[in-house]
């Protein structure tokens, strides 16, 4: 019996990882421009899984995770730009930041660390809140972070475009990165902490009765998801130059939408949602440039892409509010039933 549970558990991890690896493989065979879509999609996967780690397990909506992502962008970016090129876009940096340059992997580690610590500090007061109050409070954090990153030029480029960051995030790095984040999310949700948090979400009174501190578990999940989001931010800045508004409202909405459309309660949902919406966006972006599909040529007028995307997203939610995955983890349910019957033999037919 335990063997079957372990098998199911392994499948729950294998599904998302396999899907991500497959996406990475697809990236190797398509054109250069399409490869960009794949990399963006996989960064979205990492980001959405980070958000899921908190939102899915705790049941609390957070609008603040892109601030951890942004902080990771800043940390990795500022420390990766070669010293000689820093003054061009970041002339007012603190001396320490201006003179320190680190390599690719260290910058990602630092991005994760900064994201995690920031999330922990923010979470200390905020994790007492639930529901709407938590939503607005985390939104306020997003606003404060954006405001500070925008104007505080001693820690980064402020309003300037963040360029000259070494573009080290290619297909391999992003695929590995996404897999790392997925494995971490899986490990967390299977751990005692993850299960305690889920128990607190399902039945707060019962959870408290057995000694679970919902506040502490939420804080842990918040911090861990902050690490992941910071890491994803680090991946992002090594891929493409950004400015302070590309890590603000639009990104917050789209990543949250990806999670809800995939299915808010499961890791599989986070991965499927991110890939689905990214795929939709890529196909539509190509269609705006003129695309031949199944022998028909499609040429969408510019800007209609968002019309179609948002209409599709609304439609998915209206038809299937629990998301594409129904909030369930990856499984081969039908396969399991066949195996069970074979194990027990034909006489075992009870409901």
């Amino acid at each position: 019996m335990k063997g079957l549970a372990r098998q199911r558990g392994a499948l729950e991890l294998l599904g998302p990882v396999a899907l991500v690896a497959a996406a990475g493989l697809v990236g190797t065979v398509v054109s250069q421009t399409s490869e960009i879509y794949v990399v963006t999609a996989l960064i979205s996967v990492a980001t959405v899984v980070a958000i899921y780690t908190f939102v899915g397990n705790s049941g609390v909506l957070s609008f603040g995770h892109i601030s951890f992502f942004a902080v990771g962008v800043w940390a990795a970016g500022v420390l990766s730009v070669p010293e000689s090129e820093k003054p061009a876009t970041m002339p007012y940096l603190f001396h320490l930041l201006a003179t320190t340059t680190v390599g690719n992997v260290p910058s990602l580690v630092i991005a994760a660390a900064v994201g995690g610590v920031f999330a922990f500090l923010v979470g200390l007061p905020l994790m007492r809140l639930s529901g709407l109050a938590a939503g607005i409070a985390t939104f306020a954090i997003l606003g404060i972070t954006n405001n500070i990153l925008r104007y505080y030029e001693k820690i980064g480029p402020g309003l300037n475009t963040f360029s000259s960051v070494p573009e080290t995030t290619g297909l391999l790095q992003v695929t590995v990165g996404a897999v790392v984040v997925i494995v971490a999310a899986f490990a967390y949700q299977k751990s005692r902490f993850g299960r305690q948090l889920r128990a607190g979400r399902e039945d707060p009174a019962a959870a408290r009765a057995v000694g679970i501190s919902i506040y502490r578990q939420r804080l842990a999940a918040f911090a861990i998801s902050g690490f992941m989001a910071g890491f994803a931010g680090g991946l992002y800045i090594h891929f493409i130059p950004i400015n302070v508004d590309s890590v603000y409202l639009d990104l917050t909405f789209i990543t949250l939408a990806m999670l809800v459309i995939g299915g808010i309660g499961s890791l599989w949902g986070a991965v499927v949602g991110a890939l689905f919406v990214s795929l939709l966006d890529s196909v539509l972006a190509e269609a705006e440039n003129g695309l031949t599909l199944l022998g028909h040529s499609i040429n969408l007028p510019d800007g209609s892409r968002i019309v179609v995307e948002s209409a599709v997203m609304a439609l998915v939610l209206v038809l299937r509010p629990s998301g594409l995955t129904g909030g369930r983890e990856f499984s081969l349910g039908w396969l399991g039933r066949i195996r069970r019957v074979r194990l027990r033999g034909p006489e075992a037919t009870s409901a």
Binding site: I136, I144, I264, M313
Partner: protein, 311 residues
């Protein structure tokens, strides 16, 4: 150093208490109060945060701009505005709100996000990023001088209109049986239904009233901000949402007060602060919001559970 800060604060306060700043701030607060009611009504009855509320205002404003561009008389533009907004509200209700009734907050929020982006992008395709200008009511933007203050006519109109609308709404909610049913549905919808309250009627009326208010706001806003773009009223909606949650989302009066308060404070600070010191103003305001939520998560103006609270 403290001397500088102190003199900075006194100068801000001095500017803030000027009659003109006060009236302008009350004007903005009044408009935000109307938006807060629109959002709060629908939330109370359907437990749905309509993030696309701003797009209703945008649509109404575009209708006015369209009418003024065609040289239609002012009243025709206003009628078109109301027609467009009500039609759109009804469509949203039937296509999105009703099917998603009872779903989690996250699902409803993302669905209304999607609608918001959908309407924004349609407007972008139709009118372009620069939008259209509504020139018909510009005369109301002219100031009249009362004492030492230059008060724009529209500010007075806004305050009076808001007062009338809120007064009418108060009458509806407290004197009519429909209003009683709506209040009951906002408190405990399942029990209300068990008593015979018609859920569809109550939510339909909420959507209708919210739509009417959105149309009113569209008219008031186009006077002061005649250039209508696809993101018209988007920032205002976000600010009002924050204000409503800070005020207290679950009951109509705290929500309205929250909307008014955030409008009033935004208006005052917008007038009173010199621009070079206002860089970090958003952080300060957001920090204040967090503080309020930590101390009173249910809202500033809600009283404790089960104690006196009448609409």
């Amino acid at each position: 150093m403290t001397g500088l800060v102190a003199s900075g604060i006194t100068s801000v306060l001095h500017d803030a208490v000027q009659p003109q700043a006060q009236v302008d701030a009350i004007g903005l607060g009044s408009i935000y109060a109307l938006m807060a009611v629109g959002i709060g009504l629908v939330f109370g009855v359907m437990r749905l945060v309509n993030f696309a509320y701003g797009q209703l205002i945008m649509a109404g404003a575009f209708a006015i701009a369209y009418a003024s561009g065609r040289g239609w008389p002012v009243w025709a533009g206003i009628v078109l505005c109301f027609a467009v907004v009500l039609l759109l509200s009804f469509a949203m209700d039937v296509a999105v709100f009703r099917p998603l009734r009872g779903q989690s907050a996250a699902v409803m929020l993302v669905a209304t996000f999607a609608i918001s982006f959908l309407l924004q992008s349609i407007a972008l395709l139709w009118f372009g990023p620069l939008g259209k200008t509504a020139t018909s009511l510009v005369a109301l933007n002219q100031p009249i001088t009362i004492g030492s203050a230059d008060i724009r006519k529209i500010t007075v109109v806004a305050i009076v209109t808001a007062a009338i609308c809120l007064g009418l709404l108060l009458l509806l909610m407290s004197r009519t049986s429909l209003g009683l049913h709506m209040r009951a549905a906002a408190i405990d919808a399942p029990t209300a239904r068990l008593l015979g309250v018609r859920a569809n009627l109550v939510s339909g009326v909420a959507v209708l009233v919210a739509g009417l208010l959105a149309a009113v706001v569209a008219v008031l806003l186009t006077v002061q901000f005649p250039t209508v773009t696809p993101t018209y009223a988007l920032q205002d909606t976000i600010i009002v949402l924050v204000g409503v949650v800070v005020g207290g989302m679950t009951r109509l009066i705290p929500a309205t007060l929250g909307g008014f308060l955030i409008g009033y404070v935004s208006g005052l600070l917008g007038d009173a602060l010199p621009s070079n010191q206002s860089q970090y103003l958003p952080s300060f305001l957001f920090g204040l919001v967090i503080l309020v939520l930590l101390i009173r998560p249910d809202g500033l103006f809600t009283r404790g559970r089960g104690v006196v609270e009448r609409v």
